[in-house]
């Protein structure tokens, strides 16, 4: 199982993701430079958090034209696992690999806090280690995580069960108070129709060790590692 972590100029969560993969999970890790048009045999490509290309113009707007993105789009088309976290989610939306867009938080504030997420899909390679309707605790850190999609797109996402994570209270109730950024339908993470491209604003790599206050994020990394093993075996 090989994880590829993409590094753009301005990416800041690449080493955090790398630490979890390499030191906590014990899986194979390689960093993928944005100028490299090669995924180096990655089984799962992570687009980590940060401010790729300074988030100039719009979040993720410039990053989507990086040479590595063309390969990632081909990889996703072949069913490869692509996982965008925070800025990575914004990039996937700009690239059209996921529908919708992430706009300024409704509060206009940068939010750096713990959130509770209701896990709505456990049949995905990213969430197979979670239990049905489990509430996981994962921190967010963003100024532009307010998920927006037009009504038709939103209802299509809901009908097809593409909402994977929703901000909720600690008992799993999806409420306005639990929504940290104004996202429509409390959306924190979505998957494409095929189920191989996930985008999420919260940072699972920042809660993969007890020392950091929680280990729920590790479940997602373990899910990916295990699903890749199944593919190798089958």
């Amino acid at each position: 199982m090989k994880f590829g972590v993409v590094v753009f100029p301005g990416t800041w969560s690449d080493r955090d993701c790398g630490w979890v993969i390499d030191q906590v999970l014990g899986a194979e890790l390689q960093y993928l430079w944005h100028k490299d048009a090669d995924l180096k045999g990655s089984d799962c490509v992570i687009l980590p958090g940060g401010f790729a290309y300074g988030d100039y113009l719009r979040t993720g707007a410039i990053a989507r034209f990086a040479p590595v993105m063309e390969k990632i789009e081909e990889f996703a088309d072949r069913g490869g696992l692509v996982w965008g976290i925070c800025n990575g989610f914004q990039i996937l939306c700009e690239a059209g690999l996921l529908p919708g867009a992430l706009i300024r938080n409704a509060s206009l504030e940068y939010r750096c806090q713990w959130t509770n997420l209701a896990v709505e899909r456990t049949d995905l390679p990213f969430t197979s280690k979670c239990t049905e309707r489990e509430v996981i605790r994962v921190p967010i850190s963003h100024g532009e995580g307010n998920y927006f999609a037009d009504p038709a797109t939103l209802s299509r996402l809901e009908q097809r069960g593409q909402v994977v994570f929703r901000y909720c209270d600690d008992t799993g109730h999806v409420t306005n108070n639990a929504n940290p950024n104004g996202s429509m339908h409390n959306i924190a993470g979505i998957v494409n129709a095929r189920g191989n491209v996930l985008g999420m604003m919260p940072h699972p790599e920042r809660c993969a060790e007890a020392e950091l206050g929680g280990t729920d994020g590790l479940k997602l990394f373990r899910s990916v590692a295990e699903s890749a093993m199944k593919v190798l075996v089958s």
Partner: protein, 86 residues
């Protein structure tokens, strides 16, 4: 030529910046303000053989990069004798 491009959030997109500025204006006594929307102004200097060609190229720039069609609208003007101020 110079293209003067204005990108604004679509009417259906909530614009918290606009709402906050509207409240600020109301605090200053501008009670006649019913709405404020905040967008971006982009100036592009370009070579083109005609205004028509420039329009087509700028349209394409807006579609591919300068505006995100999910959340933004755009419009622009072309100034054929425009020079970029130094």
């Amino acid at each position: 030529m110079i293209a003067r491009i204005v990108v604004t959030p679509k009417p259906v997109v909530n614009d918290p910046q606009g709402i906050t500025v509207k409240q600020g204006l109301a605090t200053l006594g501008f009670r006649e303000v019913s709405d404020v929307r905040i967008g971006k102004y982009i100036e592009v200097s370009l070579e083109a053989s005609s205004e028509h060609e420039a329009r087509q190229r700028v349209e394409s720039m807006c579609k591919q990069l300068l505006a995100n069609h999910v959340i933004e609208d755009y419009h622009f003007e072309i100034e054929t004798d425009g020079h970029r101020p130094r």
